[in-house]
Subunit: 422 residues, 2 copies
Amino acid sequence: MLIKNGKVIIFEENDVKVKESDIEVENNIIKKIAKSIEPDINEKIIDATGKVVMPGLINTHAHIAMSIFRGTFEGCNLYTWLNEKIWPIEAKLTKEDVYNASMLSILEMISTGTTCVNDHYFMSEEIRKALEESKLRAMITRVLMDTDGEEASKKRIEEFVDLYESRDETNELITYSVSPHGLYTCSGKLLKEARELAIKYNLPIHTHFLESIDEIEDIKRMHGEEASKVLKKYFSEIHTILAHGVKLNDEDVEILKTMNCSIAHNPISNFRLGCKIADVTKYLQNGINVALGTDGQGSGNNLDMFETMKIAALAQGGIHENEARIDSKEVIKMATINGAKLLGIDKKVGSIEEGKNADIIIVDISKKLDNIKMIPNNDIISNLVYNTEGRNVDTTIVNGEILMENREIKFIKIEEILKRFS
Amino acid sequence: MLIKNGKVIIFEENDVKVKESDIEVENNIIKKIAKSIEPDINEKIIDATGKVVMPGLINTHAHIAMSIFRGTFEGCNLYTWLNEKIWPIEAKLTKEDVYNASMLSILEMISTGTTCVNDHYFMSEEIRKALEESKLRAMITRVLMDTDGEEASKKRIEEFVDLYESRDETNELITYSVSPHGLYTCSGKLLKEARELAIKYNLPIHTHFLESIDEIEDIKRMHGEEASKVLKKYFSEIHTILAHGVKLNDEDVEILKTMNCSIAHNPISNFRLGCKIADVTKYLQNGINVALGTDGQGSGNNLDMFETMKIAALAQGGIHENEARIDSKEVIKMATINGAKLLGIDKKVGSIEEGKNADIIIVDISKKLDNIKMIPNNDIISNLVYNTEGRNVDTTIVNGEILMENREIKFIKIEEILKRFS
């Protein structure tokens, strides 16, 4: 496959550049990036003239089966929302619900430029089935928690083990995490079991961490010490993915710096659930890897990572009156290469580089009424972050395979999925 | 004209409802809202089946000629941005620049559902020309300020008077404000002159007010007392439009409550210029009218009021951890009827009601891949605020005249305008 004449987003040491280039993909690998590459006979050619070619977006924290909760329970804060609204409804979900809702989310992701998602849910065989059919890249799990008795906790662990043990080892697109729900919903015993599973299977930990103000005291009460210390106690040397991390104080930052962890920042969900704004400018300045996520649609509205990029960039001006806050170049990296680092797959994806797997999206920035928010195009990077919407993506490629071309979805029967929803 | 079968957004006493209705427009007036209205012979029929029909959006603070600065000067705070970046460039603008840039913004507004804009700029004959050609509703002005000598200040006042005196009194779409730039850029003498002009011509005042932290001390130094007291001193009983109002303390709120004023809230610009978040939840709770604006594209990125609605709703979760913050119903009103109140035209526009002028937009929410962020459509109001983009608007009507129908612009030669920009 040869992607011709695109404006390619390239990450350099301390910069993000836009370079007019062709990209040759052989099987699933980016073989060559150069000007005027001659196509081989019968090679598939994608004309990207005037379009942006960039690494696929990586959504580092989502619950893709939650698409069915879109538009519900506005105005709740995290605890009310989970305890009174979401958990009671989730208890009634069927496998079919989870499969259908996941398929809907996968359509949303492919059509808005996400090539990889880090999911956090249950009935995950259904989620895996939807992912396998659609050929998206993903990390999945079976969430563990401790809120309804020992029997239920034990069953969750068994379900995780079943999920992991039944994996298809030939499918390199789907990887796994061990996922205690959060420090305020898991006992020390369960955290220790999660740690052992992570070591046994060599998997990362993926957990909610200091999302809301209420957690701070709850964790102290439950575990006898501050959240970061609890985290360090159980997951000290383990690759750990922390969703949210809104409420980190300076001591927390100092502790996280010493750990092998990344933060999945979900600004839209944080706003919507009244959690205020994570100081990701500070985290990045301290060398902590920060990537972006949407959370589920129940709190994050949608899975459009372009919207998340824009709001992540803007939100820092909500807490920083000095000018050191992150800019659009940093945000593009948070949505791509930082996400790959968070998942531990940055040698493989997250940037357009020779030798990496071809997870690539092509974005329509042509001069027309639908793109009026990009005219004049004084700065492509700025426009990508501040004035682009997911539906500007016209082509989505995962591991060298085209999942959408010119807004035509390849492996999913759209009509059949959409008719299952209102 | 008869708009058939739409899902019409209707404001009731303390609620926002969605009602399936037809709307009959006679000349420029909404004559009847009811089910199954029979069309007259030869009546223009617009089929809105499955679409949302809502009041046109009112952008209460913009600088529409600033479209040419889109994507520039990221990371600056207000003072650096104005003093070092924007004002030096603006000094070089030609009339042609202002006309072309305004036309581009008008295209952006019509195609994203804005039917009325409150502009704040100079060379405003050019802006008026563009507005007259395009038939958008607007309030315009010639900004007054006092930063470069008495001669220049005097010339600005003359230009304002020329602009106002040369108005076309038969054109009810274009109204005027008297616009001192801000309390930190206008002397007491100039504020007094602005007051006199406002009284003489019976026009509102439109000024920047407490946008950034630096202003607080500057205003005190310049006028010898706090900003709200200065405001009250000069504009006590005058209809006053305050752009931003980010930095209001409790005393400011108490003073503003006693005045005839509204706040134009521009959350995207405030974020981008490092001004933090205006507590509009509190202002509204105190009975102060708050409407929405985009500011110019240099700080606000674009003029898409759907984006501004979404970010205004979300932003309150950045400062309110309790659940009393504004919701999507409130935000829809801020973008429409509150904007009309701010401009003093709420008897005429801002809601869909029999007897009001027909400023109406029709929004495509049909079930298709481009609208995947709205599926399932559990709540139309929530989807309008959180998951709709300006380009979902398919028809824009101002004063009974169709400016765009099915995304086709009527009175502007798009190609001719676009070719003037990169």
